[in-house]
């Protein structure tokens, strides 16, 4: 399968904070949505910064559309739409003026399409952005990101702070965007429910490291959590355990193949597992014998 985006061993050290993005590797196939999940400060934004060259990586390789994106490669950036968390655009601009700026930046800027988005999203074109609500600024950022016909959308915590209705509207727009086979979305979020709704693949990042990458279907239907008593936990093969977390009366064990575990350990309770629970087990739990990292 061809990938629209590939990261190999991307590393970045911030000497002042001693935070290190450590050998991050994953890829985003054409026509898919990849979600990056992790707690605050896990390295999601730094990873996106390394992809977009707003953060200069120390090592590793990033390929967009099969090519390395260097500063002069403006043709590659023509094909990317970006939405950051919060205010993407300065408060002194209006949507009208922003459009005039973008007309002078993007060769493929589609003014009628931008107007259509403004109308669909109910955004007043002549009003200064400082008077927009948070939801309106995010909608404007989406409209700008889509109005030059990008192939890859990169969203960094773009749904954070939005109410559920507005988040749902944004997710619908993203789903519509990936109807085209050549379109893909990379979306970082710590709101796992958003990614559960739309993502095809999920990458978990913790302390600057990728701790798990899997398709959402695998996570939803193959991965499972076993609720074990201490005696049951002792009988488990360590190679079956990705991570576990001891609680008062039971131990929650993350496993990669729930079906197989049901057959092997007939007395154990094996539940479906949510992204939230996977994240907590991977981050707060102990690593097992089959932990990916």
């Amino acid at each position: 399968m061809d990938n629209i985006l590939e990261l190999k061993q991307v590393t970045k050290l911030f000497p002042e904070s001693e935070f290190k993005l450590d050998s991050v590797s994953f890829s985003v196939p054409y026509g898919s949505i990849m979600g990056i999940v992790g707690e605050n400060g896990a390295g999601k934004t730094t990873t996106i910064g390394c992809i977009l060259n707003t953060v200069l990586r120390d090592r590793g390789d990033v390929r967009l559309f099969g090519r390395r994106m260097r500063d002069p490669d403006t043709d590659l950036r023509e094909k990317i739409g970006v939405v950051y968390d919060g205010n993407n655009f300065p408060a002194y601009l209006t949507a009208d003026r922003l459009s005039r700026i973008m007309q002078g930046v993007y060769r493929a800027w589609d003014e009628p399409l931008f107007r259509k988005y403004l109308e669909d999203f109910g955004l007043p074109a002549g009003q200064k952005i400082r008077h927009y609500s948070r939801g309106m600024t995010m909608k404007l950022a989406i409209a700008v990101a889509l109005s030059h016909h990008p192939q890859l959308l990169i969203l960094d915590e773009a749904t954070g702070g939005l109410d559920p209705v507005m988040r749902d509207e944004m997710l619908d727009v993203l789903l519509e965007f990936v109807q085209e086979e050549q379109h893909s979305v990379l979306m970082s979020s710590h709101i796992t429910s958003d990614l559960e709704k739309i993502a095809d693949y999920i990458t978990f990042i913790h302390n600057g490291q990728v701790i798990l990458t899997a398709s959402k279907n695998d996570l939803a239907y193959r991965y499972a959590v076993m609720r074990c008593r201490e005696s049951e936990f002792q009988t488990l093969d360590p190679q079956d355990i990705i991570a576990y977390r001891k609680r008062d009366y039971q131990t929650d064990v993350l496993v990669a193949d729930g079906q197989r575990m049901r057959h092997m350990y007939r007395d154990a309770v094996v539940d479906h597992v949510s992204l939230d629970e996977i994240m907590i087990l991977l981050i707060k739990g102990e690593k097992g014998g089959s932990a990916p990292c």
Partner: protein, 217 residues
């Protein structure tokens, strides 16, 4: 690149509009009452330097937005972003020059030649443009190196240094050629100061591009 120029223009427009309103009224006043050209000289210098000073603080006016970071994701190079700032700065310098010229022209139309010598007019332009160029030449690398948080301090420092450099060069020229300079020596001195300012501006651009290439958001 055109889009970046528009962005710089919109950023500076509100402040520039207010100052231009004041300059327009002041311009009419000094054109009507030039008082042997003294007020007109101050006014012309004010146009050439003041408009530039006011608009310089509007570069990187993203405030609390992620606009500067966002620009790096647009299909422009980092050098384009820096170039657009320098081009915007030159634009406002020439806009100030237009104000100065129109007002001086109006005063001459109303009262005849109000200056002592035509070299006075030339030197006002040279001094104003040189101060503006030195100001930009110092300010932009500082802006990229020290960040937007220290923009005001960088701007004040740049303005003071620019005035000091131009006055220093003028004093040096006076020291070298004494009080009885010929017209050619006066013009020569002005041209050398302007040349230094242009050279500093060019070097500053290269320095700013280099600094910005290592900037992370």
């Amino acid at each position: 690149m055109k889009g970046l120029l528009r962005d710089n223009f919109y950023a500076a427009y509100a402040n520039a509009k207010a100052l231009m309103g004041i300059l327009l009224l002041a311009g009419i006043a000094v054109a009507i009452y030039p008082k042997e050209g003294i007020w007109l000289r101050y006014y012309m210098l004010c146009c050439l330097v003041g408009l530039n000073f006011v608009t310089l603080q509007d570069f990187h006016k993203g405030g609390f937005s992620r606009w500067e970071q966002y620009k790096l994701t647009l299909p422009v190079t980092r050098a384009d972003i820096v170039r657009s700032c320098y081009a915007g700065h030159l634009f406002w310098m020439f806009a100030g020059g237009v104000f100065a010229s129109v007002t001086a022209g109006l005063a001459v139309l109303l009262h005849g030649f109000v200056f002592d010598l035509w070299t006075d007019v030339l030197l006002i332009y040279i001094m104003g443009m040189s101060i503006s160029l030195f100001m930009g030449a110092i300010f932009f690398p500082l802006l990229y190196a020290r960040g937007e948080e220290r923009k005001e301090a960088s701007l004040m420092g740049s303005a003071l240094f620019a005035v000091a450099i131009v006055l220093g060069l003028a004093l040096l020229w006076n020291f070298l050629f004494g009080p009885r300079m010929t017209t050619a020596q006066i013009i020569g001195g002005g041209v050398i100061i302007l040349f230094c300012a242009i050279a500093a501006y060019g070097v500053s651009y290269l320095l700013a591009v280099e600094i910005f290439h290592h900037k992370e958001y």
